[in-house]
């Protein structure tokens, strides 16, 4: 049967489309309106102090568009104009300083791609498979190209005194979300960023200025950054004691668990991205990242871990940035148990969920980087499961 989409003249081939400026700032075409952030309502008391999830099941490549990059607020996303923006550096410095937004733009700048992952990503899965979709199990992550000034440059401008061992960073919003960071990290690769993916930060990501703390948990990436205090000690704020500490089975808790361990997930096929084309060529794809270095290798299994194949990395792994992997197979139409396993440049091998639970128990909430399983049935539908 000839295809009428080809043999008949279609309206779009005859009439005219939109002129330029129909949408001065473009949005995705309406056919993609399901590619959106989503919230899990029962998780939190209110959306103002809550989190939503990046639709990683529907994206490809490695750069997350800002418009669908997950949000996490503690007192809501505030509106702060560049003209009203002030950044203070105080504490154990020779010259306490105030910078305006314009001042920041006059320092030498860097461009770097980094992932930002919430420490609680996959946190609902500690006790077992719970949420059906890569967006919900692994979507508290985004990966963007940041433009900004190295924090080191600003600290040197103020002159850090020798008693200074930590910095305390806080935001301009009501939560302030203060966190302590060792001076060593602050002087290493931390950025004071004002652009992401080439354009101004979105309001929900801390416009006009946020902190970028490569490889470390997202809570440290303070949004609406307003103050950096050099201190002799950690301040032990709410966000580094009552939250973002990891309780072990014996009731003691780890604190200062800053690095995000190597992790990966297959984004398609997955529960929200089933196979619709039947047997034959199938692209299996996913994301891998490590807060300790670059992704060196990703292995994929389709039989629940009996045998593994090394997947193809779309690009060589980059330091503390997301890698995209592909495994191109001939699917025979039988059920699959899909898993991926990341290896990073420090030699760390992504553990199974059971291996993690053996060390940490079930109450950690944060830092769940265990291997994820999708059970794909003969119809191509996928479900979040755990297997022996």
């Amino acid at each position: 049967e000839p295809d009428p989409l080809i043999t008949e003249i279609q309206p779009w081939a005859q009439g005219l489309g939109d002129g330029v400026d129909a949408v001065p700032y473009g949005l995705p075409i309406e056919y993609e309106d399901d590619v959106i952030r989503r919230n899990v309502e029962w998780l939190t008391a209110d959306t103002i102090s809550s989190i939503n999830f990046t639709p990683i099941h529907a994206l490809d490549g490695t750069i997350t568009p800002q418009g669908c990059a997950f949000e996490r607020h503690h007192s809501g996303a505030i509106e702060l104009r560049k003209q009203d923006y002030r950044l203070m550096i105080n504490g154990l410095v020779d010259r306490p300083l105030i910078f305006t937004y314009e001042d920041l733009e006059r320092f030498p700048r860097e461009n770097r791609v980094y992932f930002c992952e919430c420490a609680a990503n996959s946190g609902m899965e500690w006790a077992g498979a719970q949420l059906n979709g890569a967006q919900f199990t692994h979507g508290m992550i985004h990966n963007m190209e940041y433009s900004g000034v190295p924090l080191r440059t600003l600290l040197e401008e103020a002159g850090v005194q020798t008693e200074g061992k930590w910095i305390y960073v806080e935001g301009a919003d009501a939560s302030s979300n203060g966190r302590s960071i060792p001076l060593e990290k602050a002087m290493d690769d931390v950025l004071v960023a004002f652009k992401a993916n080439g354009e101004a930060l979105r309001k929900e990501h801390g416009y006009p200025v946020r902190l970028v703390v490569p490889g470390w948990e997202g809570n440290l990436w303070v949004k609406w950054l307003r103050r950096i205090e050099v201190t002799p000690q950690a301040i032990q704020s709410r966000e580094e004691t009552s939250k973002y500490t990891d309780t072990l089975a014996d009731g003691t808790s780890r604190k200062w668990t800053w690095e995000m361990d190597a992790k990966s997930v297959i984004t398609s096929p997955s529960p929200q991205s089933p196979i619709t084309h039947g047997p034959g060529p199938l692209v299996i794809t996913g994301l891998a990242w490590s807060g300790r270095g670059a992704i060196e290798r990703v292995d994929v299994t389709i039989d629940g871990g009996k045998t593994w194949q090394t997947a193809r990395l779309a690009q060589p792994g980059q330091d503390k940035a997301i890698s995209r992997f592909y495994l191109d197979i001939e699917w025979d139409g039988s059920e699959m148990f899909l898993q991926s396993r990341a290896v990073d440049s420090t030699g760390y091998v992504q553990p199974t969920k059971d291996q993690l639970r053996e060390v940490r128990g079930l109450n950690s909430i944060y830092h769940n980087n265990g291997i994820q399983t999708w059970w794909v049935n003969g119809n191509g539908e996928a479900e979040n499961v755990e297997i022996s």
């Binding site: 029962w42 105030i98 919900f136 009501a174 704020s237 009552s242 309780t247 009996k306 479900e383």
Partner: protein, 321 residues
């Protein structure tokens, strides 16, 4: 290399922002507050979310209880059972609470509220007064419950493991399925969307027929922005539900304390029974300073100082009548 950018921070500026308090008491201002005062302040400012006894409301944080549960399934982590430093509680209340009214409490009020939180955790007696003088004497039960990140030692076996590639296991059995729990948010179906469109259309028709002049759309839009301050506690619109505060649909011009299914404070209920009405004047006064209108009400909101903000938000509320 110095760039000579920025300007010196003035002492008053540093004092205004540098309010963090460290575990050793660095940064703690002089002052004091009693459990007794704290109980009243907590009831007025905190109880809407955290409960009268700090036991928590709904999904909002519980601040008391949970002693001895940290090694149990689903431990209850509260100020008493989990927080290692009292400075953290003082600092957070001082800087970020109450929710939607941060930094509206005085130093003495923060001491009093912190004292009450300690009392609600059975850590101090009812006649206790907390001050900068005795602050470091308070013992936090879980002070020794934390270790510095030891993953590189405790999880050393995750490094340089030889990942198995062939014949890694004999069989694979499913041990748990997410579909059984069924807690994944559901997609809105087309049917629901159509239904909602119909409802909206019907509402539009009604509005057109109403004799009262509709509020100025520009003012309504401005009010929608101002309403964000209210949205932490109140919902409005077709799918609105009671949260910390009641749904506000139809509130303008209605008798006080009428939203069905909402538990009002005795003070507000009484005002309603006495015939108080949310007319423009009353609402304006209430929004400017809630406790000047309802003395023992529960709405912990600092008020809208600007006339134009109140005007806008009333117009926004009216657009849901």
């Amino acid at each position: 290399e110095k760039f000579g950018l920025g300007r010196p921070a003035l002492p008053e500026e540093i004092a205004a922002w540098n309010v963090d308090v460290a575990p050793d008491g660095t940064g703690l201002p002089e002052g004091s507050g009693s459990v007794e005062d704290g109980e009243r302040l907590f009831s007025d400012n905190c109880a809407v979310c955290h409960g009268e006894f700090a036991e928590g409301v709904g999904n909002w944080p519980k601040l008391a209880g949970g002693e001895g549960t940290l090694d149990h399934e689903d431990p209850l982590k509260t100020v008493g059972s989990y927080w290692p430093y009292l400075s953290t509680a003082w600092d957070y209340v001082h800087r970020s609470m109450p929710f939607g009214g941060a930094q509206s409490l005085s130093v003495d009020e923060v001491y009093a509220i912190t004292a009450y939180i300690l009392y609600s955790n059975y850590l101090v007696e009812e006649d206790f007064v907390l001050s900068n003088e005795n602050f470091l004497d308070v013992e936090m039960p879980n002070a020794d419950g934390f270790i510095v990140d030891d993953r590189e030692e405790a999880e050393a076996h995750f490094w340089n493991a030889e990942p198995c590639m062939e014949d890694c296991k004999d069989s694979v059995e499913i041990t748990m399925r997410a579909a059984v729990l069924d807690v994944t948010p559901e997609e809105e179906t087309d049917e629901v969307a159509t239904e909602q469109e119909e409802i909206t259309a019907a509402a539009d028709t009604q509005e057109a027929a109403a004799p009262v002049a509709a509020p100025d759309p520009e003012l309504v839009a401005a009010g929608e922005k101002v309403f964000r301050q209210c949205a932490s506690c109140h919902q409005i619109g077709e799918d609105a539900k009671h949260r910390v505060g009641p749904v506000l649909n139809g509130v303008v011009g209605r008798k006080v304390a009428q939203a069905e299914g909402f538990r009002y404070s005795p003070a507000l209920q009484e005002a309603g029974e006495e015939g108080m009405v949310w007319d423009h004047e009353t609402l304006d006064a209430y929004l400017e300073s809630p406790r000047d209108v309802i003395k023992r009400g529960r709405m912990s909101f600092q008020g809208l100082r600007k006339d134009e903000d109140r005007e806008a938000v009333i117009a926004y509320l009216r657009s849901f009548n």
